[in-house]
């Protein structure tokens, strides 16, 4: 491979971590969904109730099922449907370690603006994840 096509250190590091995060996230999602579908673990909302509930807006769904917005779902993590959300969360979060991993590369090479941009992106995803903006109720 020539120097020109070899990915830069930041890209290579990001790609390596992203591959690990995505593959493990997808595998986790499939396994947890399998557990949910096969009824190995009791769900919070019975399968048979879903057709009447998935017609409702999300806010009504939460009311009808006794769940709350934000991170309230974690209180029911032992239920199969809620447990499946862990797989989804792992996908939604898997860019964060990648961004954190390339920040030292930018800092060490004096690219402070890129360092700050990465920090800002982590903060934006963190803000969205925190539930502080639009966290349900």
């Amino acid at each position: 491979m020539s120097e020109a096509v070899r990915p830069a250190q930041d890209q290579a590091r990001y790609a390596r971590l992203l591959a690990i995060g995505t593959h493990s996230g997808l595998a986790l999602l499939v396994i947890l969904f399998g557990i949910y579908m096969l009824g190995i673990v009791e769900p919070h909302v019975a399968h048979e109730r879903l057709p009447e509930l998935w017609k409702l807006p999300a806010s009504r769904f939460l009311e009808e099922t006794g769940l709350s917005g934000g991170w309230g779902w974690t209180a029911f993590i032992g239920r199969a449907d809620i447990l499946t959300l862990v797989g989804i969360v792992s996908l939604a979060a898997c860019s964060v370690p990648c961004l954190l991993a390339i920040m030292p590369v930018y800092w060490a090479s004096g690219q402070r603006i890129l360092f700050a941009i990465c920090a800002l992106e982590v903060a934006v995803i963190g803000l969205a994840a925190s539930g502080l903006v639009g966290g349900g109720h």
Binding site: Q11, T22, L50, L85, A93, L120
Partner: protein, 311 residues
């Protein structure tokens, strides 16, 4: 023969959506609870097959088609659409970065702006009445169809001089043509305009749960002057960050139902793998026209559904 088989598969793929429409018209009691996730998986599998040769993102097909013809509330369809687009973008990311087809330095500044605005878009989507979101979705889908039909592409746009921001951030690189081995240095310009456009793209992505490749590509390629392949790869990479932010808002609002989201993600990803394999044998231009026609129909359906004309 192989080409015929592939075409038949593509036609079946496009026919899958009407099957779902017919199913949607059935009395609700005739479909057991597991029938809908199964139908969703099948439709998404076929959408994944045609999305690749048509050059259309799965998310942009998913939301209007599933939103228009399945019994799910639009909140969950938008949430699942974001996850479909997110999972596809995350999966493609490592290969694109390693091949130099996605540029971190080009993506990061644009992604920060679009990520922040996607949160705003998601909140707007939840604040508006569902009918208003349906109407806006229909209008947006129809506009996307027009954009996809008329937008030109430039393999290696001419960028005489980078702007100050892109120069400061090192938004440049060298693209190596895999066929010829020739190196094409590239740089970008009009970064301030690009940032404004990506702010708007983020709002649309968050509001409707659409993957935004249809908008990212022309913005990177035609506006900022990135080579076509770099634009395509970087567009996908930007989606992985933008949709992450918006997906969290949907999760926090309770708008991610695993029974809807997971079959969609798995179906679309498996279909896309088949679609990529059929890329050489499927007549891409014909498939693209068929998919755009289907998208126009779904957009019209969303518009009429929102207006209460076709419920």
């Amino acid at each position: 023969m192989r080409r015929l088989l592939a075409l038949a598969l593509a036609a079946a793929a496009l026919a899958a959506a009407p099957e779902a429409w017919a199913a949607a018209a059935l009395p609700e009691t005739s479909m057991p609870w597991w029938g809908w996730p199964l139908a969703l998986f099948v439709v998404c599998f076929f959408l994944g097959i045609v999305a690749v040769p048509a050059g259309v993102g799965g998310g942009v097909l998913f939301v209007p088609i599933v939103g228009g013809f399945f019994p799910f509330h639009l909140d969950y369809v938008r949430g699942a659409g974001l996850l479909v687009a997110l999972a596809s973008a995350l999966s493609a990311g490592p290969a694109l970065l390693n091949a130099g087809l996605a540029s971190l330095r080009l993506a990061l500044p644009l992604a920060v702006v679009a990520s922040a605005s996607s949160i705003l878009g998601a909140l707007i989507g939840f604040a508006l009445p569902t009918n208003a979101v349906q109407v806006a979705l229909g209008g947006t889908i129809l506009a996307i169809v027009v954009l996809m039909a008329v937008a030109k592409r430039s393999e290696y746009p001419e960028v005489a001089k980078p702007d100050a921001i892109s120069a400061a951030l090192g938004m440049n690189g060298i693209l190596v043509d895999a066929g010829t081995g020739r190196q094409h240095p590239w740089q970008v310009h009009r970064t301030p305009a690009g940032l404004v456009v990506f702010f708007l793209i983020g709002i649309l992505a968050g509001m409707f749960g659409l993957g935004a490749g249809w908008a990212n590509m022309p913005a990177l390629n035609l506006l900022m002057g990135a080579p076509l392949k770099v634009s395509a790869g970087t567009s996908s990479f930007i989606l992985s960050l933008v949709d992450s932010s918006a997906a969290w808002v949907y999760l926090n609002k309770g708008a991610v139902l695993p029974m809807i989201a997971v079959p969609s993600v798995i179906g679309m990803m498996l279909g896309a793998k088949i679609g990529a394999k059929l890329l050489k044998v499927l007549p891409a231009a014909i498939v693209r026209k068929l998919v755009l026609t289907l998208l126009a129909f779904a957009g019209m359906r969303a518009l009429l559904k929102g207006l209460g004309i076709w419920t």
